[in-house]
């Protein structure tokens, strides 16, 4: 289908002068994109449809059938029966500190790497960038042992270890995302003209002032884009929470989904409703901050 459409569009559009062939190309593009969008929405819409139908209805008529009743009861049941508030709160406790800390550390590091001549700054940037590109599974084995070794006071982590604690997940999310953020922010900071720093220096501004009063405000758009991206990514994280947490009740909502799936195994409608509820925070980002999210992705892919 793809190849056909390419052939259908391209040569005709080239005919240039006459308007008719160009229109055919446009129609082909429209048809292709509409088909693709229907296919893209179908799984989500179907899951939503299952979530909106009472269990009795789907048992009687099958899942692929016209609706006889639509209800929000599955959502309220899924919410109350699975202690979702608790898992959502875990997600908040992990995501919010992680995003703040990683942006603070990465902007400081990127500032030094771009604005202070520390000789090895390119080498350092390479090390951090490469660290972010490693598959998580490359480091998980020693990391798992390490998390079992590191003792932390119980007021920071109930388990007394980094393993199986919210703190541990914050630590690994921060460390792992540091590379990407530093890479993006250092590219961004390079675009700030030197003259501004020279002027600040004439005014007698120290390094910290130049960082806090000059660089950070100028980086606000990049920081906003990164914050959006990181919030979504850390909220969506599944792997770290599955491997570095043993007990289900400390897990954030995304990885707790695996447990919920087991809990509701006999009632698909509840699973669908639970899945839709878990998607809500990312859908809010999607609706309100899509531009920021996309800007963050594009920042990561463009180099200064």
């Amino acid at each position: 289908m793809t190849a056909q459409t390419i052939q259908g569009t391209a040569p005709r559009a080239s005919a240039g002068g006459s308007k008719k062939p160009l229109r055919w190309g446009q129609i082909a593009s429209q048809v292709f994109l509409i088909c693709a969008c229907v296919l893209w929405l179908l799984p989500i819409v179907f899951a939503l449809y299952v979530a909106l139908r009472p269990y009795s209805d789907t048992q009687k008529y099958g899942y692929v059938s016209l609706p006889h009743h639509l209800t929000l009861k599955n959502f309220s049941d899924a919410w109350s029966q699975s202690d979702m508030v608790h898992y959502f709160w875990n997600s908040v406790l992990i995501t919010v500190p992680s995003v703040i800390i990683v942006l603070a550390l990465a902007s400081g590091l990127a500032f030094v790497l771009t604005r202070v001549n520390v000789k090895i700054n390119v080498a350092l940037l390479i090390v951090f960038t490469a660290g972010n590109l490693l598959p998580q599974q490359v480091i998980i084995t020693p990391l798992y042992r390490l998390f079992l070794q590191i003792h932390v006071p119980t007021f920071l982590a109930g388990s007394g270890l980094l393993y199986n604690s919210i703190l541990g997940l914050v630590v690994i999310n921060v460390s792992f995302q540091l590379g990407f953020c530093t890479f993006v922010l250092s590219n961004y900071m390079k675009s700030i003209p030197d003259e501004m720093y020279e002027a600040a220096l004439v005014d007698g501004a120290g390094l910290w002032t130049r960082f806090q009063k000059l660089t950070l405000p100028l980086c606000r758009p990049a920081l906003a884009a990164l914050a959006t991206l990181l919030t979504t990514w850390i909220y969506n994280d599944f792997f770290w929470a599955i491997t570095l947490m043993s007990s289900g009740d400390k897990r954030p909502i995304t990885s707790a989904l695996a447990n919920l799936q087991g809990q509701f195994v006999s009632n698909q409608n509840l699973i669908a409703a639970a899945a839709m509820i878990v998607a809500v925070p990312t859908l809010v980002v999607y609706v309100l901050l899509q531009k920021q999210f996309i800007a963050g992705l594009s920042l990561g892919s463009s180099k200064g």
Partner: protein, 335 residues
């Protein structure tokens, strides 16, 4: 528009002079600031990323079940494994993985299939979406938003959502094609001959939107005059794209290539949520994980599998770093 303001390549290029001088000498207080700003992230990165990465290599030469301590003594041959624990095992882990571990080669094959589908299908599809949308046809914003939607969802969620499509008895696909009865139901996610492809459809569904967004940013940055000039010369749209636009997008092409390879090596969540990565869905990432968090911990063996993954992933990582940072080190050498 926001993209443009944010894009350092376009925003800063004309203003920032090439020969960038770094301003000022450092006072004592400044040095302390540098130490803190550099020290903390370096410490974290060494302790939790590069330390463990090196640890994986070290542990891969040992035999250890995670209990007791590690020693530098060589493992005794012909002794029950309980007695030879925490000892140096040489390259035995690698040898076992390559020869007698039944899941190893299937996992490698599945990872390669995953990569091939991403390279030859998901990525071109995403690029094609981007090209169509970039031509500014009617409704392009809506198309972009819809195709992008799956990128927002976690892979775990994607796996659950698709189970409603694939389920044997009540799934949308089987019902529509009439294969939802006990006799003839197609077990999309359970049949080891089918399930990898079924999961790859899910992965592509998400990956294509991701690639599309990256290319849309790249296409926006292409100077429209280039395209116009090419079209005036009589090249058709197809040729213009491949001969003029595509080469100009080189930086994006590199990023997309790296994202494609790394994502196919990282693939884990989808197969784990589907069936914990067994019975046709084995991947290297799953094997590493199951050897350390499973019931029987084989730290050394799991590490060896991790090293295999590390070595493979170093290829795209090094390529990316070389192509990205080559330009930065050049002017330095000239100075």
């Amino acid at each position: 528009m926001t993209d443009h303001e944010l894009d350092p390549a376009t925003a800063g290029a004309p203003r920032a002079p090439r020969r960038r001088r770094r301003v000022g000498r450092l006072s004592g207080r400044d040095k302390a600031v540098v130490a803190v700003l550099l020290g903390l992230p370096i410490l974290l990165d060494l302790a939790f990323i590069w330390g463990p990465a090196l640890g994986t290599i070290g542990l891969s030469f040992t035999k250890w079940n995670g209990v007791g301590s590690l020693s530098t003594k060589a493992c005794l041959p012909n002794v029950p494994s309980i007695l030879s624990n925490g000892c140096l095992y040489g390259v035995q882990n690698y040898h076992q993985a390559l020869t007698i571990y039944p899941e190893f080669w299937p996992a490698v094959r599945h990872n390669l299939i995953w990569l091939a589908v991403f390279v030859f299908f998901a990525t071109p599809l995403g690029m094609f979406f981007a090209v169509l949308i970039d031509r500014g046809i009617k409704g392009s914003r809506m198309y972009q938003s819809i195709l992008f939607l799956p990128v927002m969802l976690s892979l775990a969620l994607v796996g659950i959502i698709w189970e409603f499509m694939y389920s044997q008895n009540y799934g949308l696909i089987n019902t529509v094609i009439g294969h939802n009865h006990n006799g003839n139901a197609i077990d999309w996610l359970g049949n080891p001959k089918l399930n990898l492809w079924a999961v790859l459809v899910e992965a592509t569904w998400r990956q294509a939107g991701y690639v599309m967004v990256l290319y849309l940013a790249g296409l926006k940055a292409v100077d429209p005059q280039l395209r116009e000039a090419a079209l005036m010369d009589g090249t058709n749209a197809w040729q213009t794209f491949w001969k003029v636009v595509f080469p100009v997008m080189r930086p994006i092409n590199i990023v997309v290539m790296v994202v494609t390879v790394i994502e196919s090596l990282r693939a884990f969540d989808l197969v784990y949520i589907t069936n914990k990565g067994i019975n046709g869905l084995e991947l290297l990432s799953v094997l590493v994980t199951s050897n350390i968090v499973g019931e029987t911990q084989r730290v050394g063996f799991g590490s060896a599998l991790g090293v295999v993954l590390l070595v493979i992933s170093l290829v795209p990582i090094c390529t990316f770093l070389y192509l990205t940072f080559r330009r930065e080190s050049q002017p330095k050498g000239a100075r």
